[in-house]
């Protein structure tokens, strides 16, 4: 066991994956010599050489597209996109090829590849550095979209993603890269993709969230707990495919449902989650399912970004309305 924050855990996990399997290669902009702008890949080039951990020219479409080729030719590439806001040029590759190769070849060719990227806002970064892409990425059939909320989960989910035979988008909440440390086992373990986790059990309402927001939701749940409202908090962990079973089981128990996410509200994952609750547990509901999400605006620059984010007290206010409906 070692105390690690999220970014050192990512670094440790990539090291473990490269050590376990020669087919794992890690690359992207500033990934090699510098070790990544967030230091996720520090030391990997030194340890594994510049054939397995290397810098690429500045071209996201090519980073993702070459990963496709490498995966087709027997490697297990882990590509880094420097910030989620820079991935748009690669969307053609992601949508037209990454997500479809298995289907369009009827299972003959498939892509064991991971695309990692810092995700979301809240770090007072420059323009285009704070994007939440859950909605876009979750909508594409053929992708798995994963996001950890703790160092422990990050290791298990990232190892599972690298070992998976389907392409995985791994969204790393940059806000909590260094927010806190946690005991992370040295030995390797995986956490199954597509499985949510009940992080606080409760009986009065179900709250689903993921990534950095899980921590705000837990704070909100504590505020409510002090008022006598017992919220169950679920960390979705995999945005797509969604673990419906865990959510529905919880809603059937609590009768109330809220989802909290950073991405803009309209057409967002909150809508999808509420739809699946309506389809799967309608008759158990005692209150309208509710979503709390980003405003339908472009994420603001740092001076005003705090208005965009939901903090524990705003989340608590929203959850209180659901609990007391």
């Amino acid at each position: 066991m070692a105390l690690m924050n999220l970014i050192t855990t990512i670094n440790h996990t990539l090291d473990r994956a490269m050590d376990q399997d020669d087919r794992v290669v890690v690359f992207g902009e500033d990934v090699g010599v510098e070790g990544g702008v967030f230091r996720a890949t520090v030391g990997l080039q030194e340890k594994y050489g510049d054939k397995r951990c290397f810098d690429t020219p500045l071209a996201e479409s090519a980073i993702v597209g070459t990963a496709v080729g490498m995966a087709l030719n027997g490697l297990r590439p882990v590509a880094e996109i420097q910030f989620s806001g820079f991935v748009y040029p690669a969307f053609n590759q992601i949508i037209s090829h990454v997500a479809r190769m298995r289907n369009r070849t009827r299972g003959q060719r498939y892509l064991p590849m991971v695309i990692r990227m810092p995700h979301g806002g809240g770090i007072k970064a420059l323009e285009h550095h704070s994007e939440s892409l859950d909605t876009f990425l979750g909508h594409i059939p053929g992708l798995k979209v994963v996001t950890p909320s703790t160092p422990y989960d990050a290791k298990g989910l990232l190892l599972a993603a690298i070992q998976d035979d389907d392409p995985v988008i791994f969204l790393e909440p940059s806000k909590i890269y260094r927010a806190f440390r946690q005991e992370v086992p040295e030995e390797d373990y995986t956490i199954p993709l597509g499985k949510a986790k009940v992080v606080k059990s409760g009986s009065d309402l179900t709250v689903v969230s993921w990534g950095a927001y899980v921590h705000e939701v837990l704070k909100a749940a504590q505020i409510l707990q002090d008022e006598g409202i017992d919220a169950e908090v679920i960390d979705l962990r995999t945005i797509s495919p969604i673990d419906r079973e865990t959510i529905l089981e919880s809603v059937k128990k609590t009768g109330r449902f809220a989802v909290v996410h950073e991405a803009a509200k309209s057409f967002g994952p909150g809508a999808e989650l509420i739809a699946l609750v309506n389809e799967g547990a309608f008759l158990y509901l005692e209150a309208p399912p509710t979503r709390m999400a980003g405003f339908d605006i472009t994420i603001p620059l740092p001076r005003e970004e705090h208005h965009y984010f939901l903090d524990a007290s705003r989340i608590a206010a929203g959850l209180r309305r659901v609990a007391q409906f």
Binding site: A59, T66, M70, N73, G74, R104, T105, P241
Partner: protein
């Protein structure tokens, strides 16, 4: 050596082609005997036959489309040498990464004609190839496939394997960001990859001169620091020779090459297109005189390897074969509904299984 570390300008082809590598002229006469690849005589005959098969299968697909039996189809006629030549210059384990108009290369690299027809017939099994055939499926989004080629080539290098990747793109594709990014990546990583631009003069209706002010497409290699060469794409010998040298260069670790195959699409872009709207008949007629099959046949006859008598009926024989293959495609029946669902992921996730099962219940009449 055909390929230098700069654009290669070999012989003036005359209007409208400009300078390019040519070994055999449009009449089948060998103009550069010292450059004729040292292939067995019967190999040239085999390659000629591969071009005739390509032509016959292409024409048949077009006829079938006109009869309403085939869906939208992208004709290939006129570009056979730019496809069969490079395909023949590759080794067995080399990879081919196509765009979407490389029928001659697909067939030569081992994709069954039936599979090709299945694709244009609208069936995903048209992208499922026999085991061991190192060819990627067609790439419709223009330019995207070059990244896959570079990635495959980089993987070969990383693994210490000697395989080379040959990738295709069209003249329109050279205007994409992906084309330029891929050349750049290939250069930086010294990837064992050969890019072939089939410059067939039109991207649907837009002529080559409206794609770029550059004098040639091959010169786009210069900015990436890799060699580029313009080759007469209707000259089977020149296409074979240039690709062979580029492939062997790559295999020796000397890096990527860009080959511009200067050719012409004698037919339409696809069966949805009317080329008379954007080009003159006289231009098409002029290019028919440079037909790659015609000149290869003249060469073979001149060499005493073939005769008009032997040639008579060859095209018809391949056409009949193509029709028979297409009949098999029509007789295949509908693919399984489960196939729509079961290849999106390795294992079908719960939500997809539910959608599938609900649809099957509907099909079986169990749902009102």
């Amino acid at each position: 050596m055909l390929i230098h570390e700069r654009i290669e300008l070999i012989r003036d082809y005359g209007a409208p082609g400009g300078p390019m590598l040519q070994i055999m002229d449009e009449h089948g006469a060998v103009r550069r005997p010292e450059l004729v690849p040292s292939l067995a005589e019967e190999k040239w005959l085999e390659l000629y036959k591969a071009m005739v098969l390509t032509r016959a299968a292409d024409d048949k697909a077009l006829q079938l489309q006109r009869q309403g039996r085939m869906l939208t189809y992208a004709p290939n006629t006129g570009q056979e040498a730019a496809q069969v030549g490079p395909a023949a210059a590759m080794e067995k384990n080399d990879w081919l990464v196509p765009a979407f108009r490389e029928l001659g290369a697909w067939l030569y690299r081992g994709i069954p004609l039936k599979t090709v027809y299945l694709y244009w017939y609208g069936n995903e099994y048209g992208s499922h190839f026999p085991e061991g055939v190192r060819v990627l499926p067609i790439a419709v989004p223009i330019g995207t496939q070059l990244h896959h080629a570079v990635g495959i080539a980089m993987a070969s290098s990383i693994k210490g394997e000697k395989d080379v990747t040959v990738a295709y793109i069209g003249d329109g594709g050279t205007s994409t960001g992906d084309f330029n990014e891929a050349l750049n990546f290939a250069g930086v990583f010294n990837a064992p990859v050969v890019f072939i631009v089939q410059n067939n003069q039109y991207a649907i209706s837009v002529p080559r001169k409206k794609q770029t002010k550059a004098e040639s497409l091959a010169q786009k290699a210069v900015a990436a620091g890799i060699p580029g060469i313009v080759v007469d794409g209707n000259d089977l010998m020149a296409m074979y020779a240039a690709t062979k040298e580029a492939v062997e260069r790559a295999r020796r670790g000397e890096g990527p090459t860009l080959i511009e195959a200067y050719t012409y699409r004698l037919g339409a872009h696809t069966t949805s297109d009317d080329p008379t709207k954007y080009r003159e008949d006289s231009e098409v007629e002029q290019w028919k005189l440079r037909d790659p099959l015609r000149r290869m046949k003249a060469y073979l006859i001149d060499q005493g390897l073939w005769s008009d008598e032997q040639d008579a009926g060859l095209y018809e024989q391949y056409g009949a074969y193509a029709l028979e293959v297409f009949r098999q495609v029509e007789a295949e029946g509908e693919p399984k509904v489960a196939d729509l669902f079961q290849y999106t992921y390795k294992e079908m996730p719960a939500h997809l299984r539910e959608q599938y099962e609900e649809y099957v219940r509907y099909l079986e009449g169990k749902v009102e």
